[in-house]
């Protein structure tokens, strides 16, 4: 069997692995990206496509800041990808809402934003509560439901087309001489003085650096190189309507309208293991929320729905960690692969190639989950 050499091998061809691999290839490293079959609806193919900041990083201010940096990089990142590949990203940084139904949701959201402001590293938090009337004046084409009490608004939030993002990252990676191996099932990883030997069902790879960005398989593969990263699946269901006129130039965490005109509704959270299905009850809840907010959408035909699995760490924050027992092996996982794609292809690549990190980067280490058990 041939052994193929590379500067870096990235295990995972989803939106996180591909962003890292693309960034590495841009830095002129010779990179191999491995992925499994893509007949399963992975998080990269089933997600909602938000490029989102508000609400992220509660309990970890460094992550809030990281998300903000990623958002600030996104426009340039999207333009560069479009120039390189000709694939439009449809990135709109219009600002985003969380729309509150009923007074209780409004006061809860206000309190939450106040907490975010208090713990912020800068003492500021660029997300404001707005009244129902202000909200209505921003979206004149969509009459609000009677129970809508207002919203939080963050001017940095927006959305992109996540499938175009994934395709563009793959195409740009290949254009930059990166080598992609689909249908590659990693069987063993050996570590010795020369680095890593990775054996798949068809090929053997030899590399000094290894990045594990394997979604829900991250726990299993990281364990082979002495990294402990607990991740679990959490299902989200999504509903898509027929295409209609452009009514909603913004997004909420649960409702957005695509460039093509279809509305997407989502943001359910279920602990159902690896079940990718959809359920009537959850889809009804999702539709009911959309109609409580925008009742005039009730005549739109629902065209399709799907279930997809989020990849969550115990605190739902990202993990970026290098192995202590096998230096040169990295694990990268996050729920927010789309929002962070810009920063994953830049700052994270600096860390992998040269160990350069920004201040407080160590908070992303998975060591935070190793709480000593009381004797």
């Amino acid at each position: 069997m041939n052994t193929m050499k590379a500067d870096v091998v990235v295990i995972g061809g989803g939106v996180i692995g591909a962003a890292v691999a693309y960034g590495l290839a841009e830095q002129k490293a010779s990179v191999v990206m491995l992925d499994r079959e893509d007949f399963q609806l992975t998080a990269s193919r089933g997600n909602f496509g938000l490029v989102w900041l508000q609400g992220k990083g509660h309990g970890m201010p460094r992550y809030a800041q990281w998300s903000q940096e990623a958002t600030e990089l996104w426009s340039t990142f999207a333009e560069k990808l479009e120039d390189q590949t000709g694939i439009p990203q449809y990135y709109h940084r219009t600002g985003g809402f969380e729309i509150c139904v009923g007074e209780e949701e409004y006061s809860k959201r206000s309190k939450f934003l106040e907490e975010m402001r208090t713990q912020s590293l800068t003492g500021t938090y660029n997300c404001e509560m707005i009244s129902r009337d202000e909200l209505q004046s921003m979206i004149p084409k969509l009459p609000l439901g009677p129970m809508v009490s207002g919203a939080s608004f963050c001017p940095h939030d927006g959305f992109a087309n996540p499938l175009h993002l994934l395709r563009a990252l793959h195409q740009a990676f290949t254009q930059l001489k990166g080598q992609f191996f689909p249908s590659a099932d990693v069987q063993t990883i050996e570590y010795n003085n020369d680095g890593f030997l990775i054996q798949t069902n068809t090929t053997r790879f030899s590399t000094r650096k290894l990045v594990i960005a394997s979604g829900l398989a991250t726990t299993k593969l990281s364990a082979l190189v002495g990294i402990k990263v607990p991740v679990r699946p959490q299902r989200g269901q999504v509903l898509v309507t027929e295409k209609t006129d452009h009514l909603f130039p913004f997004a909420t965490g649960r409702i957005r309208q695509n460039a093509d005109g279809s509305f997407m509704f989502g943001a359910s959270h279920e602990e159902v293991g690896y079940d990718l299905g959809t359920t009537n009850g959850v889809l009804q809840d999702i539709a009911n929320h959309a109609l409580a907010v925008f009742p005039t959408l009730k005549n739109l035909q629902l065209i399709r729905s799907w279930g997809s699995l989020r990849v969550l760490t115990p605190d739902q924050k990202p993990v970026y960690v290098e192995s202590q027992s096998c230096p040169g092996a990295f694990a990268v996982t996050s729920h927010s692969g789309v929002s962070l794609a810009s920063i994953h292809s830049s700052y994270l690549v600096d860390w992998i190639l040269s160990g350069q990190t920004q201040p407080m980067f160590e908070v992303f280490d998975s060591a935070r989950f190793d709480v000593p058990v009381a004797a």
């Binding site: 027929e242 209609t244 093509d260 959408l297 005549n299 035909q301 065209i303 399709r304």
Partner: protein
Amino acid sequence: MFQSPPNVAKTIQITFEEKTYQVAPAQTVAAALMGEGHLMLRKSLVSGETRAAFCMMGICFDCLLEIDGQPNQQSCMIQVREGMNIQRQLKKGECA
């Protein structure tokens, strides 16, 4: 190209784009229209390209039609019914 099943009485009347057709029961709208020689069912709202039913199993969404006034119906998943009035899907969905 497509043939209706032989030896099945065409007992159902449907209307497609203002013309009536006698078709066999127990088949989908998409199959019935293909059997009558109609392949182009809709136009893409994005590109304007014509579309024909492709997968015939509810996955591809290329067979969308307006059926009895309801737009964007998946015609490969809906059985023909007596008196059905069917139009090509050429326009956007409309809100209330």
